[in-house]
Amino acid sequence: MGESRLAGGYGDNVLVLLSREPSVLFAYWELSPATQLVIVGKKWGLRLWSRRGAHLTLLREVFPSFFCGDWYFTELEAGASYRCELGWWENSFFVPLLVSDWTETPPVPVPWRPPLPEELPEVRLLVEAELEVGVGYFSWISPLKKE
């Protein structure tokens, strides 16, 4: 499904990376006419980097064909940081022309079960019990009862 009444682009340079789910990121970009002149005729594309702590890994290189387009990066790792670059290659040397912000994929949930009573420290039980004493919890009951 394409667009109809809206501008195809805004004549600007943009590269945005959005997190969709733990394994999927979405990138969209636009290159201004002047920037298109820079890369026309060159081998250009997107590179996706991941970051774990201080460790950077080049994960993907893709070669789209549109100056204004988008891309879904799939099968990624949950809970990691990613950054996308758009640029061109000169031999093996990559020149980033646009760089997205770092974007995080969400972590996956950890299954949870209630701790068994014997796993709880006694101290906590006592503290919690004290909290319950005289809390006067449902203050809203009073006005209705009075009527």
Binding site: E3, V14, L86, F93, V108, P109, V110, P117, W140
Partner: protein, 935 residues
């Protein structure tokens, strides 16, 4: 004693659909159906319980778009007409079904419609917001709200745009109900890190998340979803209980699928002849639900007639079952956790009555069961629970939502992903417009306010959702297109100073929600009423002030104080004298006092300066002069600043421009240790710190153990006129011998050596390229050797210190300016180059990294990577159209984000915020225990 709490939460929301231009618009029916089938039955049951004195507690979230529609006379009038049409249809249905098994149902529907009509028109007099308010006042409902137009926050890009959604929603709610809520419903339960900070800024205490949003937290929550957790910003997050959700929502095992319940999909709107229905339908061409549904689910292909009395019994049975299950669940969790759990059960309000016809009956019976609390389970709102069990477990939460898949798939997929490149662009534009027009009035203000409304409307999560699920797709697409198109037409009108008033009026009349909206809600700096505060008397302490200018500090204070004076503030500067200027003078409204200072060595000079400043402050005091606030700059004035804070009781703001540690990459000498200690002491004692970049905020916070929220980031500004730039002139024209300029101290951390190493690579591609290095420093000799090593002596000039005029001339001639710093707190020289419309290439570090957007208004490279530096310089020299694009965008940035007038206004806000805080603590004595020790 409570063994657990059940928090029922209903979220009521519909997108803003209002078409005054048409008599009947199909999609307006969403509101009328929801009113008739959900909101009126729910209000009816709540009021009935109150009348019967049945105590209960329930949380209801009412979206601002729904509230807007509920208070709209046009829509409420049309709803009455809708009810009348349905009543007319009910009459005909009685005739049609007479003598059939469906006749009692026709009567049932007629009676129900009559009741709703009476409640709406007579009981609540069209004021349903008032009806909700009464329930809150009766103590049974906790009312909360959500984002202005239900914008899905994880896919709204800018902080300002997210804040605008949140704040506008809260403001509208407050306008409707007269108070701000303590809780907030995140649209689609969509959370992403950082949202909590915005909620905290607005005073929100809690919000809700889908189950896995809590269970994926780091560190893991010890009580699962059965106790709130605290986000880093200190807001409580409550997770949805999966069991209670499944029992109601699940299409296979959930209650709504019971065979005795009404079949949703069999409606006479799709089954009876068109001619019969046409007078009662909202459109001339489309069949829709009428609400006259005569069958029960039955459980087989052939449906049986619906029997409300049997369904009512089933609803009561299901309510008992649900309550018992929750009681057992609470008891079990209580024993396991050693504390009463909170079981959070949030639902879309529209489930009750519309999708699940019997939902309101079920809910009513459930609330009746909760009245005693005999089995240890009590109904509560999150606020109730937080009062008794404030959360203590602080954790980081990641992206999550309650949509299919649990994240953002529903709102970001090939059916709807095209939306975001438009809305993101609009967000950014709106923020720039706030910078460019901080005080718009009249027509321009109206146009900007309407542009803000159109942006908010384009962001509704509903459009992306509809496009994904595939129903009424064309309407959703048209709505996005309409708001995007309206926005740009209004914005172009503002920018071109040709606002089309008729078009503006048309937009205002149609998309009329939030009539009080102030577009500045999108400003990165301005807060409400920021410009209408009383005049302040501010005393600046600075060891530099023109004509004494050693580094950038003096220029900064000079520009800031003059800009503050132009905001009509009473500004006094206390600084060090120079032979050529008087001890006192007024410069553009700024009162400047200069003290004479002498000293044998540096430290003695600093001590004497502080002593002289203290004496002058005492003199001023004795002359009856007083101030509201003190603003000091860097460590050298620390003694005087601490004295004034202590003895004059002045709140102290300190701007830390750079740190000794940062300048040298560590502390290596006793003098550095002394300065470092002074800086730390001043940072600790200050009531508020200003830094020029996020980078500096991190550095100051880390080095001196100052909390991040005590530090405000206000960048440096630049006045293009001081660089001889009056308006747009563009970059230097192409030249066979293009000039590359470096401005800065000649020290290793400024990275000039990288530029020298890049020069041979640049000259391979652009043989005529020349480099001029402006500045002085101990590293100059090494740089000269470097130039020799690289064989570029013939094309490198060491210009030494350059005065203002020479700098202007150089920037006018420069084809590219390069700032290859390894350490840079801000990078004012790069900003000046941008203001002079020279394309820049900068090291991706510190404040420079924040100043330049790579590939948009300059290039950034990893510090030290001279090959990449060379590559970028070559591209800018080769492609002058690209250079011009960069310069245009940088020029816009300079005039908006880095304009002194603007930054002075922001500084003023910081002052007022500090003074308000001081007033709140009620004349607290400002103590400086360690300050005394220092003196």
């Amino acid at each position: 004693m409570a063994r657990g709490y059940l928090a029922l939460v209903l979220h009521a929301h519909l997108p803003f659909v209002r078409h005054p231009e048409k008599e009947r618009q199909l999609e307006e029916n969403w509101l009328y159906q929801a009113l008739n089938e959900c909101y009126l039955p729910l209000l009816d049951l709540f009021h009935r319980l109150v009348k019967e004195k049945i105590p209960f507690r329930l949380t209801i979230s009412l979206s601002p778009t729904l509230l807007s529609m509920l208070s709209d006379p046009l829509l409420m009038g049309r709803f009455e007409a809708y009810l009348e049409r349905l009543l007319a249809l009910a009459s005909r249905e009685k005739e049609r079904t007479f003598g059939t098994p469906f006749y009692p149902l026709a009567l049932f529907y007629e009676e129900r419609l009559r009741r709703h009509s009476r409640l709406f028109a007579d009981e609540w007099r069209r004021d349903l917001i008032g009806a909700f308010k009464q329930l809150r006042e009766a103590g049974v409902l906790e009312l909360i709200t959500t984002c202005a137009t239900h914008g899905y926050l994880p896919l709204i890009r800018g902080r300002e745009a997210r804040r605008a959604q949140i704040r506008t929603g809260l403001d509208h709610f407050a306008a409707c109900f007269g108070f701000r809520p303590s809780g907030f419903w995140l649209p689609e339960c969509g959370y992403t890190p950082g949202v909590d900070e915005l909620l905290a800024e607005e005073g929100i205490r809690y919000f809700f998340l889908e189950t896995h949003g809590i269970l994926s937290a780091s560190p893991p929550p010890p009580y699962g979803v059965y106790a709130p957790v605290l986000t880093p910003a200190g807001v409580a997050a409550l997770g949805r209980d999966p069991d209670s959700s499944r029992q109601v929502w699940d299409r296979h095992v959930g209650y709504p699928g019971d065979y005795w319940y009404r079949e949703y999909y069999r409606d006479i709107g799709y089954e009876l002849p068109w001619d019969y229905l046409a007078p009662y339908l909202p459109s001339d061409a489309v069949r829709i639900d009428t609400g006259f549904k005569y069958y029960r689910i039955t459980g087989r292909e052939e449906k049986e007639p619906y029997r409300p009395e049997k369904a009512r019994e089933k609803a009561a049975e299901h309510a008992r079952h649900f309550w018992q299950q929750r009681s057992e669940q609470a008891e079990y969790l209580y024993r396991c956790l050693g504390r009463p759990p909170i079981i959070v059960a949030p639902y879309d309000a529209e489930l009750f009555g519309h999708w699940w016809f019997e939902g309101p009956w079920w809910l009513e019976d459930l609330l009746r069961l909760g009245k005693t609390g005999e089995d240890g389970l009590l109904l509560a709102t999150p606020f109730d629970y937080l009062q008794v069990h404030p959360p203590t477990h602080r954790t980081q939460l990641g992206l999550s939502s309650w949509g299919e898949g649990g994240y953002s798939r529903v709102w970001l997929n090939p059916t709807n992903d095209w939306i975001y490149r438009h809305t993101h662009r609009m967000e950014a534009k709106m923020t720039i417009l706030c910078d460019l027009y901080p005080e718009a009035e009249g027509l321009r203000k109206r146009a900007l306010n309407q542009a803000a409304r159109e942006l908010l409307l384009a962001q509704s999560s509903d459009w992306a959702f509809i496009l994904y699920v595939g129903s009424t797709v064309e309407y959703a697409r048209r709505r996005v297109e309409e708001h995007v198109t309206n926005f740009w037409r209004l914005v172009e009108g503002v920018l071109q100073e040709r606002i089309e008033e008729a078009f503006l009026q048309q937009c205002e009349a149609k998309n009329n929600l939030f009539p009080w909206l102030d577009y500045r809600v999108y400003s990165r700096f301005w807060q409400r009423d920021g410009l209408r505060k009383p005049r302040l008397k501010v005393l600046f302490l600075s060891w530099e002030y023109p004509p004494r200018v050693v580094g950038g500090l003096g220029r900064h204070v000079y520009d800031l104080t003059r800009a503050l004076a132009r905001w009509d503030q009473d500004i006094t500067v206390l600084t060090v004298g120079s032979p050529e200027v008087p001890a006192y003078e007024e410069i553009e409204g700024v009162k400047v006092h200069r003290v004479e200072v002498e000293g044998r060595d540096f430290l003695a000079w600093v001590e004497n300066m502080n002593r002289a400043m203290v004496e002058r402050m005492e003199q001023l005091k004795n002359q009856g002069e007083s101030f509201d606030l003190l603003h000091g700059h860097d460590w050298m004035i620390a003694e005087a600043a601490l004295w004034a804070r202590s003895e004059l009781g002045l709140p102290l703001v300190v701007t830390i421009h750079a740190t000794e540690y940062g300048r040298h990459g560590g502390i290596y000498t006793p003098l550095q240790a002394f300065i470092h200690e002074r800086e730390g002491h001043l940072a600790q004692a200050a009531d508020l710190i200003v830094c020029c970049s996020e980078y500096m905020r991190r550095e100051v916070s880390g080095l001196f153990g100052v909390k991040r929220d005590k530090i405000k980031v206000i960048p440096n500004g630049v006045d293009p006129k001081t660089l001889g730039v009056e308006g747009w002139r563009g970059p230097a024209p192409p030249s066979p011998k293009p000039l590359i300029v470096f401005l800065g101290r000649l020290v290793p951390e400024k990275g000039a050596q990288d530029l020298v190493k890049a020069l041979p690579l640049i000259r391979k591609k652009i043989p005529g390229a020349r480099l001029v290095l402006c500045g002085r420093g101990y590293y100059e000799e090494e740089l000269r050797r470097c130039v020799q090593r690289e064989g570029v002596e013939d094309c490198v000039t060491f210009a030494g210190f350059v005065d203002g005029r020479t700098r202007e001339a150089l920037l006018r001639e420069a084809a590219v300016a390069v700032f290859p710093s390894h350490y840079e707190p801000f990078g004012i020289v790069a900003l000046e180059a941008m203001a002079a419309q020279v394309p820049v290439v900068v090291g991706d570090t510190g404040g420079l990294a924040e100043l330049v957007e790579h590939g948009v208004d300059g290039f950034k490279f990893p510090p030290g990577d001279y090959r990449l530096l060379a590559r970028y310089v070559v591209e800018l020299l080769r492609h002058r159209s690209l250079a011009e694009e960069f310069c245009r965008r940088a020029w816009l940035k300079v005039r908006s984000r880095y304009c002194w007038r603007h930054l002075a206004g922001v500084t003023l806000e910081v002052y007022n915020e500090l003074l308000a805080r001081k007033r709140e603590v009620g004349g607290e004595k400002i103590a400086t225990p360690s300050g005394d020790r220092q003196r």
